[in-house]
């Protein structure tokens, strides 16, 4: 039947943005290796609530790796030790019996802690609002097949568009840079004829907003790409640099 393990959890608890936080240690026994990491945290929370304590707060929603809500810095990795998955898709079979698991919130000045493991990612919203779109209103657009798009460009745009906005790139970056996030959106829209028209304006606006919000400078360590659950490539960053520099040179 199911294999079970016992684990020790070191979890960051913090009451609010301005309150000092600290690690708490919890022991959890008989966790099925088939359960997901968040289900393991559910079990912990059930136990805490049963004891009259407040549960550990963390963001989560779809639990199938696409909404980007879940975060967590687990044992030195955003989204934990497995490759190409979000925390919600991480399973306990990746951990050993008796292992100590350290769970922390995303750490970056751009993502202040709200409570425990939940952080505020409004900065990403603000970046999107500065230009992460094609400026078209509803209605009055040409037929979908009016403009042909090469399959290669469409596929590459799709790869860039697979970003889920979770913030693991910023969390992994020693510089707290949001370049992978910004570049993924700029690339997606720059690759498509519909988005090409305002590509220069978009690149300038999004970079300006990103800088304004205090994200760091990219030093090309590639940590973002290594930890991205959707394998978004840093070639997007090169494209953003290219778009931005050429836009500025044309001004």
């Amino acid at each position: 039947m199911d294999k079970t393990i016992n684990v020790t959890l070191k979890i960051w608890r913090q009451k609010g943005p301005k309150v000092k936080g600290a690690f708490e240690t919890y022991k959890l026994d008989n966790i099925s290796t088939d359960s997901s990491f968040l289900e393991m945290l559910d079990i912990l929370n059930e136990q805490l609530v049963s004891k009259g304590q407040e549960p550990v707060v963390f963001d989560h929603d779809c639990r199938e790796g696409i909404c980007g809500a879940c975060s967590l810095y687990i044992n030195g990795h955003p989204h934990g030790p497995d490759d190409s998955v979000t925390t919600c898709q991480l399973h306990m079979r990746r951990f050993k019996d008796g292992e100590t698991i350290t769970i922390e919130p995303w750490r970056s000045a751009g993502f202040p802690v709200i409570r425990d493991l939940m952080v505020d990612r409004q900065a990403f919203e603000k970046i999107m609002q500065s230009g992460g779109y094609v400026s078209v209103n509803t209605g009055g657009v040409p037929d979908a097949n009016a403009i042909g798009i090469s399959k290669i460009d469409a596929d590459e745009a799709m790869d860039s568009a697979s970003c889920i906005g979770c913030g693991a790139c910023v969390a992994a970056c020693k510089n707290g840079s949001a370049m992978l996030f910004v570049s993924a959106k700029v690339s997606q829209l720059a690759l498509l004829p519909q988005g090409r028209i305002e590509a220069a304006r978009r690149a300038k606006a999004m970079v300006a907003r990103m800088d304004e919000l205090g994200f760091g400078n990219c030093t090309n360590t590639g940590a973002c790409e290594a930890e991205c659950p959707k394998n978004v490539s840093i070639t997007n960053i090169a494209r953003l640099n290219r778009e931005f520099i050429s836009a500025k040179l044309k001004d």
Binding site: Q122, G148, D155, Q194
Partner: protein, 647 residues
């Protein structure tokens, strides 16, 4: 008895929507700025509506339960979106999409609404492409299509296995643009907790700021709810953890009819349940049924050996496998609609042929496709889904067949709306999955995205003006009005009551209990006795909840347990209404299968003479039985037939 008017425009089917649009009232640009609209929800329907209304010049307030609109569960739709473009030259048309949707819904949807949906489906694709949605393309540069269940044409547009994500990001982009332009104000981490009705019209909401725990009041000339379905009543479903039916339920309690609550879709291809700690179920896209073949062992002893772990599926010889969908439905084979596929799986498992260690699973086998097309082609088509399966189950689907089982996925029922998407409360509109919608008793694959965006981009922005045109002289409302105060007081008392119970049970434990009752008695197969049992059991659950739940922390601070408790309190009542509706509907149609009403071959048997109506439930007060109002479904243009996917 209350009469119900769906406000269907006059004229031939194909001209109703054009007729409506050319005769409706509009609001001029200067007046739009003076009108406030609240949109609750930021999924496909909510985001597209908020963005479109903002573009038109209305002053929009948009509420999001998560930290970003991009978290809405529309994002998880995998397979695609239907449209009657006929780009493939395979005989598609607006009429055919309309017909397939009506038939797929087992003749329990409104003709005029569905025809309009099929009509605007093409505009949606155009709109999304213009927004930069990277749909899959052919080498020639034009859009590609795939097939989906319940249709004989390829009309599904897709973006890898992430179509919902890309469409939502498109709508979210449009919304972000309006937020920057300040036509839309976005409130993230806010949950609507009550509807405010003044003089019979929806005039605002009370929302709980989930970060501070404070209740806040918002006033507007109209309220739109786009808050999705109530599938999480079952605890285990493919819905996201935050999906809930509470907004719709509050509207119900303030006078909006709740329509067809029993009509819930059970999706045939989900990863089976594997333990009691499980928090949700994961869907495997319907598109897998294009190439995967569904089977169980022919011999009971083989199935038993597999369950005991003594035998592997690959050891079962071809002639000992029962490809039951191909056997029962030769014309559609593995691509029968969802309700049919789900019931067939349950039938086999109930008969003792199920596999997996619980016996509640069937195989979805790709070995034929791999032999025919090569592993690389299969990987290119479904690679991300296979990877997801492997991460969850720890089994390689290229080598051993996937195991799947049906799970609750979508609710066709919801807040009743007329042709204008207006509920029975004037000024309150419902769009997307939140309304009882265009899918009748069963939704076809790739139609939810279509409906959500149709409502948000192309229907509501028109129809809401017909209402608001009368409101231009109404000044902005003050949130100090007594109606706001009393609504806030009501919810405050409710929270205080919940916090004061201090019982022994966690919210989740009660929710799981609710889910089991729902799955056992109001699930895939329902019968009179079971439904009556369910109603009794749900009453007991409700009592247990309100006397023995425990919520730690404070009611006026961030409190995730309290959030869950408020939702579960509503789920219990929704569950009861579902059971009540299922009990009333003495027929089988689509997702609603009453065991008493089936053909000799076990197919759903409708009772058109008695049940060709929409069940609209009207709230009559706490402890009172709700009133059932019937909206007759008169089919003017289509002749009802027994659904046949066999030939």
């Amino acid at each position: 008895m209350t009469k119900i008017d769906a406000k269907i425009p006059q004229g031939p089917l194909a001209e109703k929507w054009s007729y409506y649009k050319s005769h409706q009232k509009l609001v001029n640009p200067a007046n739009k700025r003076r009108l406030d609209i609240i949109v609750v929800g930021t999924g496909l329907a909510g985001a597209s509506a908020a963005a479109s209304l903002g573009e038109l010049g209305f002053n929009v307030m948009n509420f999001c339960i998560s930290d970003s609109p991009r978290r809405a569960h529309s994002i998880a739709a995998q397979g695609g979106i239907n449209a009657a473009k006929n780009y493939q030259n395979d005989g598609d048309s607006v009429y055919r999409l309309f017909y397939d949707t009506i038939k797929g819904g087992d003749y329990r949807a409104r003709e005029a609404n569905v025809y309009r949906l099929a009509e605007v489906s093409n505009d949606i694709i155009d709109q999304c492409v213009a927004q930069g949605v990277p749909f899959a393309r052919e080498y020639g540069g034009l859009l590609d299509n795939r097939s989906f269940g319940g249709a004989q044409v390829s009309r599904t547009f897709y973006a890898k296995g992430q179509t919902g994500q890309q469409l939502l990001l498109g709508a979210y982009s449009a919304l972000s643009r309006q937020i920057e332009k300040k036509t839309v104000k976005l409130y993230t981490r806010y949950e609507m907790v009550d509807l405010v009705v003044i003089d019979g019209r929806a005039r605002g909401i009370i929302a709980r700021n989930l970060v501070t725990g404070k209740l806040e009041r918002f006033a507007a000339h109209a309220v739109v709810i786009a808050t999705g379905g109530y599938g999480n009543t079952f605890f285990l479903s493919t819905n996201a953890m935050n999906c809930n039916g509470s907004a719709a339920w509050q509207c119900y309690k303030k006078g909006a009819y709740f329509a067809n609550p029993c009509m819930a879709q059970i999706h045939p291809t989900c990863i089976p349940v594997h333990g009691e700690f499980q928090s949700k179920l994961t869907l495997m896209s319907e598109s897998l049924r294009n190439d995967g073949r569904i089977w169980v062992p022919k011999k009971k002893e083989d199935a038993a050996a597999i369950r005991a772990g003594k035998m592997k599926p690959t050891q079962i010889k071809e002639e000992d496998r029962d490809y039951y969908l191909e056997r029962r439905y030769p014309a559609f084979g593995n691509l029968v609609p969802r309700d049919v596929a789900s019931r067939a799986a349950k039938e086999r498992c109930d008969a003792g042929f199920g596999v997996g260690n619980t016996g509640l699973a069937v195989y979805l086998d790709f070995s034929d496709a791999i032999n025919r097309l090569g592993e690389n082609v299969v990987r290119a088509r479904y690679g991300n889904l296979f990877q997801m399966y492997e991460k969850i189950v720890d089994d390689n689907p290229y080598e051993t067949p996937m195991m799947i089982y049906p799970a609750i996925h979508y609710t066709m029922g919801g807040t009743w709306v007329d042709y204008e998407l207006q509920t029975s409360v004037p000024g309150l509109f419902a769009i997307g999955e939140a309304n009882f919608s265009d899918h009748g008793a069963n939704r076809l694959g790739a139609s939810a995205l279509m409906q959500g965006l149709a409502d948000g981009y192309f229907v509501l922005p028109y129809t809401i003006q017909n209402y608001l045109a009368d409101q231009i002289r109404v000044p902005r409302f003050s949130t100090e009005l007594p109606e706001f105060a009393s609504a806030e007081k009501e919810i405050q008392d409710r929270i205080a009551k919940l916090m004061s119970i201090k019982g022994k049970r966690t919210v989740d434990s009660i929710h799981k209990e609710l889910g089991l009752i729902m799955w056992d008695f109001v699930g895939m197969g329902r019968n009179e006795e079971g439904l009556k049992t369910a109603i009794e059991k749900l009453k007991a659950v409700k009592k247990e909840f309100w006397s023995n739940v425990f919520i730690p922390g404070s009611g006026s601070d961030m409190n995730t347990e309290l959030e869950k408790a408020l939702r579960v309190a509503d789920f219990i009542e929704i569950g009861e209404l579902m059971a009540r509706d299922a009990l009333d509907r003495q027929e089988s149609c689509g997702g609603h299968f009453r065991e008493e009403y089936q053909t000799e071959e076990g197919e759903a048997l409708r009772q058109d003479d008695k049940f060709s109506y929409v069940s609209c439930w009207k709230y009559m007060g706490e402890g009172q039985d709700p009133e059932l109002i019937k909206e007759p479904l008169d089919y003017e243009f289509i002749v009802r037939q027994q659904r046949n996917y066999k030939a």
